[in-house]
Structure formats: structure tokens, C-alpha cells
């Protein structure tokens, strides 16, 4: 299990990285933490001509407040993001989800952007970006563009990123301090990809849900935003929310599949249950599932 041969470059700026990507004409792959890419290389499932290491680009690291949100540099190590005070204070849902990514050792090297750009449908970070309405900032020699997270994913490990493009930032819109965290994951072992999982944020104003962002992972070919249930929740008073009804709506947006770890029917059945339970507990509803 040794990777096929490749060239390695370590650019020190985004511009240089984009230039290398452009020159490679589709034969380049970006490596950040490498925690998922390295196994793909070792198994020769990925065989780039050039590996572009973005760990030397300072501009791609760190967490900053920006107009209307929080920007996370894609090369920010997961362990660093977990310890970040800004995220802990203003985006606890992000931190909760990140804590379930991989293991201690892989979080020490793995990056936030790597997880997001890779597009594993059962992973926590893509679904979190989708649920929270994050925007993915993308650069290439052709210019820059921003793509909403829920338009970023096309299928398992497939995104809108062109071969010459680089993710340069992920911007999470502001969620008011005190937003409620919705998170459940059913995985057979800690650190495994989820059989089914959900992540989201809810804002309450005067006993009514005023804003909701909810995403599923492990429930289809991409992370899935549960738009129907979001719409049903927003504007509804807490005492009128029936978790079971909401769970049915939440499931309606999913498209789970069978694999040898679990069936689609299991994912739907258990997905509805964890949704109802998470919703009831998060909103402290008496009619808990």
C-alpha cells in the first residue's frame, strides 16, 4: 500500500498555489491535513501527478470575525479550531460537531477545510457547513467565487470545485449568541463515519423558533439540508411543536442508501427517532419522544 509516484510542491501563497494547480492541468491534488487523502493515495484510489501542500500558506490558517460571520481558514487544524475561543463563544454548534470528527491523533493534523472540501457524505463538517448556511470561498487563477455550502456538494466525494480551484475560506454566517445546538450522531464506534447523524442550530425568540438551520449526514449522497422541517419550525411556537411530526418532515428530505453497515430503512427509522429526541431535548419539550 504505497502511493503511486507524484511531485510535491509547497507553495507559500494562495496565488502560487493557484498557479501550480492551473499549470497541472487537472493533474494536481491539494493536500492539507491529509487525513483522508493519504489513505486514498496509499490505496492508489487517488493518483495525482502533483501534490500541492497548502500547509505553508499562512493566509489559509486561523479563525477570524468577518462582516456578518466567522471565517475559518481551510488549513486550520481541527484541534486548533476546537480550542478556538471565537468559535467556542459564537459558534458552539460548530465545535460540538467538530469534536466528533475522527480521533485525537487525526484532529491534530486534519484540517477543517480538508474535511469540507473532500465531501464525505457521512462526515460531520460538510453537514455542519450546509446546516448553518456557510459559504465556501474558492480561488483560482481565473478569479474567486463564493458558493453556498448546500450547492457545493454534488455527490460522494464530488464537489463543484474545478481541478484548478482551491478552497480559501469557509464563512459561517452569524448565529446569535445563545443559539441552541442540535446534534446527534449514531456511529458504531467513536470516530467512525456516522450511520446517521444530524447537526443544526435553532434560535428562539419569545417562545417561538425564529431561525433554524438543520443538516443530515450519512443520509444520502451528499450532506442534506432539511429544508422542509426548517420551514415548519420557523415561526412555530414551542408548545405547538410535535417532535414526531417534525421528524417525519426532517426525514422527507433525505435519500439514504444501503451499505454493509446499515440499511436505508435503518437510517430512516433511526434518523427520525434521533431527530425527534434531539429536537425535544434541545427545545426542552415535554412531549419528548
Amino acid at each position: 500500500m504505497k502511493p503511486a509516484p507524484f511531485d510535491y510542491v509547497r507553495p507559500s501563497s494562495v496565488e502560487e498555489a493557484c498557479r501550480v494547480l492551473a499549470e497541472a492541468g487537472g493533474g494536481a491534488t491539494v493536500i492539507a491535513g491529509g487525513q483522508t487523502l493519504m489513505p486514498l493515495l496509499a490505496l492508489r484510489m487517488s493518483q495525482p501527478f502533483v501534490l500541492v501542500d497548502i500547509n505553508g500558506i499562512a493566509a489559509l490558517k486561523g479563525v477570524t470575525r468577518v462582516e456578518g460571520g466567522i471565517r475559518v481558514g481551510p488549513a486550520t487544524r481541527q484541534a486548533d479550531a476546537l480550542r478556538d475561543a471565537t468559535l467556542a463563544r459564537h459558534l458552539p454548534v460548530f465545535v460540538t460537531a467538530l469534536g466528533h470528527v475522527g480521533h485525537y491523533q487525526t484532529r491534530n493534523r486534519g484540517t477543517v477545510g480538508g474535511s469540507i472540501a473532500l465531501g464525505e457524505p457521512a462526515a460531520e463538517m460538510p453537514a455542519t457547513a450546509v446546516a448553518l448556511g456557510a459559504r465556501v470561498e474558492i480561488a483560482s487563477v481565473r478569479g474567486t467565487r463564493t458558493v453556498p455550502a448546500d450547492e457545493f456538494y454534488l455527490g460522494p466525494y464530488m464537489t463543484v470545485l474545478e481541478p484548478d480551484e482551491l478552497v480559501t475560506g469557509v464563512v459561517y454566517p452569524d448565529w446569535p449568541d445563545g443559539h441552541l445546538v442540535l446534534f446527534r450522531e449514531v456511529a458504531q464506534r467513536p470516530g467512525d463515519f456516522a450511520l446517521v447523524g444530524l447537526v443544526g442550530a435553532l434560535v428562539l425568540e419569545g417562545g417561538t423558533v425564529s431561525r433554524a438551520g438543520i443538516g443530515w449526514f450519512g443520509m444520502g449522497p451528499t450532506p442534506i439540508r432539511a429544508r422542509q422541517v426548517e420551514a415548519a419550525l420557523v415561526g412555530t411556537a414551542l408548545d405547538r411543536i410535535d417532535p414526531q411530526t417534525m421528524a417525519r418532515l426532517a426525514i422527507a428530505d433525505t435519500a439514504p442508501f444501503d451499505d454493509h453497515h446499515a440499511s436505508a430503512e435503518y437510517r430512516r427509522t433511526v434518523g427520525a427517532r434521533i431527530f425527534a429526541r434531539a429536537l425535544a431535548e434541545t427545545l426542552d419539550l415535554r412531549s419528548a419522544a
Partner: protein, 903 residues
């Protein structure tokens, strides 16, 4: 956690090491990165091997294009079977009998499973070898594969030259005629079916081989194995080389679990290629290969029916067992041991079975910790199901049927004698230490809150330390000496892939000799050291090597005493050895360090008693009783989350009788390791194949081993009834992996009982399959698609028209398919009318028979044999011109096939 540790320890020295948690001798090097695993060894000029493997399960190789690969810089050679055929090999089973499937080093014209090695690339580095391997173009004319046991019954022949896909077969459908009426007459009949998934043994270190030719016909092989001695003998046999020409070294091996009992295709191809190239070659199996192309285990489909009388006492049982042998099993296997060991610890009046191994186009079957473990799984889960059905407590049901000490000696219906097993006593100890009524109250309370707790119990016995009835299963030799420095050296043929044999053997020696544990060094892991033994196989090392060291140390102590008595002018009885000092009773001033005695024994022979050999050495080979039984009862408590189907293990208590415990830390480590693997089998691990014969768990993401969060803290009760062996040990290596699965399944089934029975136990019990039971519908999506077993209809055999027999007098070359592999023999028949006499000759010797009866073309005769045990063989042969076929009824072993032709 040790609830109660009671040791029965002997020993002559004041310092007691046996029964204590001595720190392991192996740990110093392993903890500091100084171990020597095969991949850590480098030999000058060494080249690296990678394999080109089949991506299809079955087909004819049309072409292999090596041109592009050969041109790659750094590639030194590429071999196909056409090249390696220059080194003749004849693959053997672990039992040193021929493998029946036409195993070759590399694919010979056909591929029979995904992962089948087709070509071997030798290059300057492994990475280069893999580069070149990816350039080899293989064209295969793909055929529809035979993947499951059901496929094998009806599908194409896996090995076209064979008659059918039955790899091995024992037992007798006719017995059913005797069993069925007993079942019909029983008050209750309970039937259960278990489908055990395919397991990848998954030692943390994969297979590994470094073959270094030395001289013209000698070879040093560093090998990941379970016994350098067995491996050396096996390799020599397979290659037709003298045993002394092969030296196998395996200092550290990262786990074996049965997989590394014998080398297989890849290791042997490395050795053969090293012979051809005359240079050292290394192959280190990567995890992708380890999961998809190492021999697998289990993959069984078993149905057991058991009758009970109105008092829940056993009346009769019938079992139909099938096992997927894959394409290239490490010995065709119908797993007769499942049937042999299913009932010796229970009072069962009648038992019958048919048991078969099936060839398929999947990776071959290998051994795995407790290869016969199905007997406990199917029996113990059935007993719990019966207890629920009949309305008896599971413990009570076992009490009514188990063999207790006062019931012994006892012989099972299949002829297995037991005289000192304690499954009942282990169960009583368990019940005395675990508050079952309190758990039942807690369970009832929890159910009111929608929480589902369950408790499961299982009991079993296990044959360990086998010696003398199968070719590789032998005694153990220890070579023990005290160096002139006073330090002790033991040379052993034990082998640790984690077993800690250097530790436990040193404990026995230190105690029996009266020296500090720290002063004993144990050398093992090299076929050049010690005498033949199969190392770690069949839970035997503590039992047999323990007995050997026990006795050898006593012999050496006697010699020391003789010398010391002579030097001190005292009588031998007054001498004691303790803490490395030699004392004379009543004369403390005459105490002297062992070193002084040793210096004299080696350097001043004139001071020794006349006629006594110089030096301080002893050698002893211990031949233990043929089998030593270990018993246990386990209990486990779980909580099942009815919403998600997840299982949480709350407690697990082991009540085990493994006789004298040399080192509780090591013994508990063996039990725990086996139990963790049991948990993996029940809940997590699975190597599924798709319909095209592709293995679906190619990484550790998909093949899920238990993590620290999946395994609870185990609690131990040691029963410790000394066995009949020197030292009184009983084997402990495999037990956890045998009794663990039914214990956990029973706990889960108990938790699920408010919802229904687990009708058919399909492993692993994934969360989805548990929801199947809870919701009584097909949540897992596997129930509907599962193949319904085709009832085995055995059409009555039409009486064949009596053919004209042109006399059967003379010699016939026959093959008897025994449980240990095919046995070739020459049969000679002399007819006098219908009366036939003659002899059978096998390598072990010739035995005559008389009283045979020939009717038409059918010959029946009987023959009594002593080995492997006393049984009467009943032959029933049918002659058809120049060929003969039929069966041989082998007492408890059931029936074995016989084929042959005129000699």
C-alpha cells in the same frame, strides 16, 4: 478486576512465582521500540515483493502481459506460475496431510477468488514493486462465481477436476433415522439456526516473510508464524527439502490467532522465488492484502435441533453443519471438532450430525482462535432459547443437564471421555458471586421505563494441550542450564505472539529451581533452538511447556543438591535452594551462592562427586496426557437501546477453571483478548462478499475491530482445579473466543425477549438486525434477501444394478478422507467365495482384517484401530471395474469418503 483469586500452587523454593503477576520479560524491548518483527529485519541485498492479484472471483486467465512492468527501472524479476513451477511444491495442511484443492504458488491458468495471486514482482523497494504490479495486464475470461454455501450446492465446480463442491464431509444422514424418533418423542424440540459471518483474523502485524538463501540448499526464513519449528518442518516438507536446511526465525510476531499456523501461498512463493533468484526477498503483507487475501475464518451455516423431556432434560440432538471453505482452504475442513466437543459437558443420550465444508470462489478458510467455537455458540444459544420456551431458568436448565465432578468419568455419545471437567462447578461459582435475582429485579424495573436489560450465561469445556494423537500436536522439550555465572538459561520451542511464554516459563523455572525470576533468561523464537513443537496452537504452551520446564527445573535442582551435598559433606536431603543461594540445613555458615556451585561444576570437575557429568544442565521432553480439558461459565449483562438497536455491555464475569495459574496477568490477558474478539464477532466484525465475489471490507474503516469503548472491564473468578499434567495447568488461549459469543448473544436475546426471539442468529448482530427483532419487521434489509436453506433431501439411493465384478483380489490404491485430511493407503483383498480378508497399509504401518463379506460388487468389512483413539472402522465399498468408492464409518467421527482405483 479480580473478584477472588485462589491459587493452588506447589513449588519447592521459598519464593513463589507461580500464581503471581510477574512483570513480563517481553515488555522491556516491546515498550521501547526494540522488538524484532520480521519487517524490522534487513539483510544485505534484500529485494522486495508485491503481488499482482486477481480482481475477479473466477475465470480463465487468457493472457498476462508483463512487458511494461519488466521495463520499469528497479524491477529485478517478475514471476508467474510458469516460472515458479520450477520449484515443485506440494501444499500440506497443518496436520501434515496433503491439501486436496490444486493449490499452486501463483494462479495456474485459472483464478478461483478475488485476491488470488497471479504474478509476483520483485523490485528494489516495495513502492517500485507496487508500481510495476500496477502495470501488469491480466486478461481473464470471467465466469459466474460460486460465492455462498448455497451457490456451492448448486453452482459450477470451483475446482473443475473434482466431482463436486464438497471440500470435506463427515457424519451420516442415516443416523438421522435413529435420532428423529427420539426428537419426535420429546416433550419439547427446539431448533436454531446460526449463520456466522466471515471473519478476518486481523493480527495487528500482517503476514510477513523474509527468505534468505544461504549456500546452495539452505535457507534462513524470518517469518510471521506461531511456531518456528512447525513452520520449518512444514516448509521443508512442502518444498521437499531436508528439515535442517530451513531455519525459521520469529523473534517477535504481532499476533497470530490461528492465521499464522502455517505459511501459505504468498510466503511460500517468496521462499520459492528466493531459491530461484538466490537472493534475499522480503514480502510484508499490507492491510488491504491482510483483509482481502489472507485466509479467512468461520463463515458457517448451522442448524441444530435438540429434544427435551418434560423436565427439560436433554433427549437427543441433530446437527447439520456447513462451512464455506473458500477456494484454497488451509486444509479442507468439515470441522468435525464442532461435533466432537458439542456435548461432552452435557448429559445427552443421542447425537447425530452431517457436516460439510464447501468450496467457493472466495478466499480460503484458515484457522482462528477456537476453530470449533460454533459448538458452544449454537448449543448455548439454543439452550437459552429452550429455557424461554419451556419456562425454566437458563441456569436451572443447565444444572439439570451439565456434567458435574461426581458424574465423572463420563463418556459422551461420540466417545469423548471426560474425567475432570468442571463446567457445573464453574457455573455454581458464578451464581454464588453474581446476584442474579437482583439483576432480574433491576431488569423488571428498567423495562417499565422502556429500558431493556439482559443477562446471558454460557458454559463450556475446551480441549487444550493436545498431544500424541495428531502429527503436529506433540510434547515439548526444554533445555535448561545454569551458566558458570549462576544465571539460568532455558531454550524452548515455545512461541509468543503476545502469549508471554518467556515470562511464564521463567516463573516456573525460578520457582522450581529456587532462583530469582530476574536470573532466568528464556530463549525461543528460532527453529535452531529447542526441539519440535507446534508452538502456539490449540491452547497448549502453558500446559505442555509448563510441564516440561517444571520437571526439568526439578531435575536440575536435584543435581545442584547432589553437588552441594558433596561439597559440604552433607546429605542431599539437607540441601535447599532459595533465592539463588544454596543452603545446608543446620549449617547457615555453609550457605553459598549458586554461582559458586556453577563455577565448580564447569571449571573444577575434580571437586564433583565421582561419575557426575560436569556442568549444570538438564533436558526434558514432556509428553502430557492426550488432552487436558478446560471448563468455564461466563455471564454478561447488557442494555439494548430499543430506539437505535445499539448494545452496551454493562458487566462481564468469567468463571474459568484453567487449573494452575502461572501468571494471573497473562491468563486474564488471554481470556480478555478472546472475549474482545468475541465481542467483535457478535457486534462488529464482518467480511461480506458481494454476488460477484468481491470482499467488501478492504480497510479497517469497514472491517470494524472493537475499540476500547466496545469492551467492558472483565471480572474474573479463577476456579483452579489442577489438571493431570505436571504442574496442573490447563490451556487458556482460545476459551474467551469460544464462550464469549454465546454469552453475549444470550444476554442480548434476554434483553430482546419482550419483543420476540432471535429466530435465526445472523452475525454480526448489527443495530439494524437488532431492530429487526424489536420491531418484528425487516429493518436491516437482510431478512428478505437471505437465502432460505434448501431442505437437504437425500433421495433414497436406488439399488445399483449389480455389475459384473471381475474379482477384487489384489491391491487397490485408496484414499480415506479423514478429519485431519486425506489418508492414502494401499488395500489388499483376498476373496474366498464371499468371504474376504486382507490388509490396509498406510505410512504408519500395515493392519490386517478378516471377516469381510462381498455381496455382488459391495464389500463390507471391519477393522479395529488404536490411533488416534480406539475405534472400529466399518468399511462399505462398492467396486466398479477398476475403481472403488464408498465410505468408512469411523465411530464418533461419523463417516468418511473412500475413493480408489486398482493398484
Amino acid at each position: 478486576m479480580n473478584i477472588e483469586a485462589k491459587m493452588d500452587v506447589g513449588g519447592i523454593g521459598a519464593a513463589r512465582y507461580v500464581g503471581t503477576r510477574q512483570p513480563r520479560k517481553e515488555d522491556g524491548r516491546l515498550l521501547t521500540g526494540r522488538g524484532q518483527f520480521t519487517d524490522d529485519v534487513r539483510v544485505p541485498g534484500m529485494l522486495h515483493v508485491a503481488y499482482v492479484r486477481s480482481a475477479v472471483a473466477r475465470g480463465r486467465i487468457v493472457s498476462i502481459d508483463l512487458d511494461a512492468a519488466r521495463e520499469m527501472p528497479g524491477v529485478q524479476a517478475i514471476y508467474t506460475q510458469a516460472d515458479l513451477a520450477a520449484v515443485p511444491v506440494s501444499f500440506q495442511t497443518f496436520f501434515f496431510t496433503p491439501v486436496e484443492a490444486p493449490v499452486t504458488l501463483l494462479a495456474d491458468g485459472r483464478v478461483a477468488c478475488v485476491g488470488d495471486p497471479i504474478a509476483m514482482v520483485v523490485a528494489d523497494s516495495r513502492a517500485l514493486a507496487e508500481d510495476a504490479a500496477s502495470l501488469v495486464e491480466v486478461t481473464i475470461e470471467e465466469e459466474a462465481p460460486v460465492v455462498t454455501i448455497a451457490d456451492a450446492r448448486t453452482g459450477a465446480l470451483v475446482h473443475p477436476e473434482r466431482d463436486d463442491n464438497i471440500a470435506a464431509e463427515m457424519g451420516d444422514e442415516d443416523t438421522r433415522l435413529a435420532i428423529q424418533p427420539l426428537l419426535d418423542a420429546s416433550a419439547h424440540v427446539v431448533t436454531t439456526r446460526v449463520r456466522h459471518q466471515r471473519i478476518a483474523q486481523s493480527p495487528m502485524e500482517g503476514r510477513a516473510c523474509l527468505a534468505s538463501p544461504e549456500g546452495t540448499n539452505e535457507m534462513t526464513v524470518w517469518l510471521g508464524c506461531q511456531s518456528p519449528h512447525l513452520a520449518a518442518r512444514w516448509i521443508a516438507l512442502v518444498l521437499g527439502m531436508p528439515t535442517e536446511a530451513i531455519r525459521v526465525i520469529a523473534k517477535d510476531v504481532g499476533g497470530g490467532f490461528g492465521l499464522k499456523n502455517i505459511p501459505w501461498k504468498e510466503e511460500m512463493a517468496v521462499i520459492a522465488a528466493a531459491k530461484l533468484m538466490r537472493c534475499p526477498l522480503k514480502w510484508i503483507e499490507d492491510r488491504f492484502e491482510a483483509l482481502t487475501a489472507s485466509s479467512h475464518a468461520r463463515d458457517q451455516d448451522v442448524t441444530l435441533s435438540v429434544g427435551f423431556d418434560a423436565d427439560a432434560r436433554l433427549t437427543a440432538a441433530w446437527c447439520d453443519y456447513a462451512c464455506n471453505n473458500g477456494a484454497w482452504p488451509m486444509g479442507e475442513d468439515a470441522n468435525i471438532a464442532v461435533h466432537m466437543f458439542m456435548w461432552p459437558c452435557y448429559k445427552l443420550p443421542a447425537y447425530g450430525f452431517v457436516t460439510r465444508g464447501w468450496y467457493t470462489n472466495t478466499m480460503g478458510l484458515g484457522a482462528y482462535r477456537g476453530p470449533w467455537a460454533m459448538e458452544s455458540l449454537v448449543r448455548e444459544t439454543l439452550l437459552d432459547k429452550a429455557a424461554r420456551r419451556i419456562g425454566v431458568d437458563p441456569v436451572e436448565l443447565r444444572r439439570r443437564n451439565l456434567i458435574y465432578l461426581p458424574d465423572q468419568p463420563h463418556t459422551s455419545t461420540l466417545g469423548i471421555p471426560v474425567e475432570d471437567i468442571t463446567p457445573g462447578e464453574c457455573l455454581e461459582k458464578l451464581v454464588a458471586n453474581v446476584d442474579f435475582p437482583a439483576f432480574r429485579r433491576e431488569q423488571a424495573e428498567a423495562r417499565k421505563e422502556g429500558r431493556y436489560l439482559g443477562i446471558g450465561v454460557a458454559t463450556y469445556i475446551e480441549p487444550t494441550g493436545a498431544a500424541g494423537s495428531m502429527a503436529p500436536m506433540t510434547g515439548e522439550t526444554v533445555h535448561l542450564r545454569i551458566e558458570p555465572t549462576g544465571k539460568v538459561v532455558a531454550m524452548l520451542s515455545t512461541h509468543s505472539q503476545g502469549h508471554g511464554t518467556a515470562t511464564t516459563m521463567a516463573q516456573v523455572i525460578a520457582e522450581q529451581l529456587g532462583v530469582p525470576y530476574e536470573d532466568v533468561a528464556v530463549y525461543e523464537g528460532d527453529s535452531a533452538i529447542g526441539a519440535f513443537s507446534p508452538g502456539a496452537a490449540g491452547s497448549r504452551q502453558g500446559v505442555i511447556a509448563g510441564g516440561a520446564t517444571w520437571k526439568a527445573a526439578q531435575l536440575l535442582a536435584e543435581k545442584i543438591k547432589v553437588v552441594a551435598a558433596h561439597l559440604s559433606n552433607a546429605s542431599v536431603e539437607t540441601i535447599t535452594i532459595d533465592g539463588g543461594m544454596v543452603h545446608v540445613a543446620g549449617a547457615p555458615e555453609m550457605s553459598r551462592p549458586l554461582r559458586e556451585i556453577a563455577e565448580i561444576a564447569y571449571g573444577e570437575p575434580g571437586r564433583l562427586p565421582p561419575g557426575l557429568a560436569t556442568g549444570l544442565e538438564a533436558q526434558y521432553r514432556y509428553q502430557p496426557p492426550p488432552m487436558t480439558m478446560t471448563s468455564a461459565a461466563h455471564c454478561c449483562m447488557v442494555e439494548v437501546d430499543a430506539e437505535t438497536g445499539f448494545v452496551r455491555i454493562l458487566r462481564w464475569i468469567s468463571s474459568k477453571d484453567c487449573g494452575t495459574v502461572i501468571n494471573p496477568g497473562v491468563v486474564e490477558g488471554q481470556i480478555a483478548g478472546g472475549l474482545a474478539q468475541a465481542i467483535g464477532q457478535v457486534l462488529l466484525e464482518d467480511m461480506p462478499y458481494d454476488a460477484r465475489g468481491n470482499p467488501l471490507a478492504a480497510t479497517f474503516k469497514d472491517y470494524m475491530l472493537p475499540t476500547i469503548f466496545d469492551v467492558p472491564d472483565f471480572e474474573y473468578l479463577h476456579a483452579s482445579t489442577p489438571s493431570q499434567t505436571i504442574g496442573g495447568m490447563r490451556g487458556v488461549g482460545e476459551g474467551g473466543c469460544i464462550i464469549g459469543p454465546p454469552t453475549l448473544v444470550n444476554a442480548i436475546a434476554d434483553a430482546l425477549s419482550p419483543f420476540g426471539e432471535i429466530d435465526e442468529l445472523v452475525l454480526p448482530l448489527t443495530p439494524a438486525r437488532i431492530l429487526d427483532v424489536i420491531e418484528q419487521r425487516d429493518v436491516s434489509g437482510t431478512r428478505a434477501s437471505e437465502v432460505v436453506p434448501v431442505a437437504e433431501v437425500t433421495a433414497p439411493v436406488e439399488a445399483a444394478p449389480v455389475a459384473q465384478v471381475s474379482g477384487i483380489d489384489g491391491d487397490w490404491n485408496m484414499v480415506l478422507k479423514t478429519p485431519m485430511g486425506p489418508q492414502a493407503m494401499v488395500a489388499h483383498f483376498d476373496c474366498d467365495g464371499d468371504a474376504v480378508s486382507g490388509w490396509l497399509e498406510a505410512p504408519e504401518g500395515r493392519q490386517a482384517f478378516a471377516g469381510g463379506v462381498l455381496s455382488g460388487n459391495q464389500l463390507k468389512f471391519e477393522m479395529k484401530v488404536e490411533k488416534p483413539m480406539k475405534i472400529t472402522l466399518k468399511y462399505d465399498l462398492t467396486f466398479d471395474g477398476q475403481t472403488v468408492s464408498g465410505k468408512c464409518k469411523m465411530g464418533m467421527f461419523g463417516s468418511a469418503k473412500v475413493t480408489g482405483e486398482r493398484g
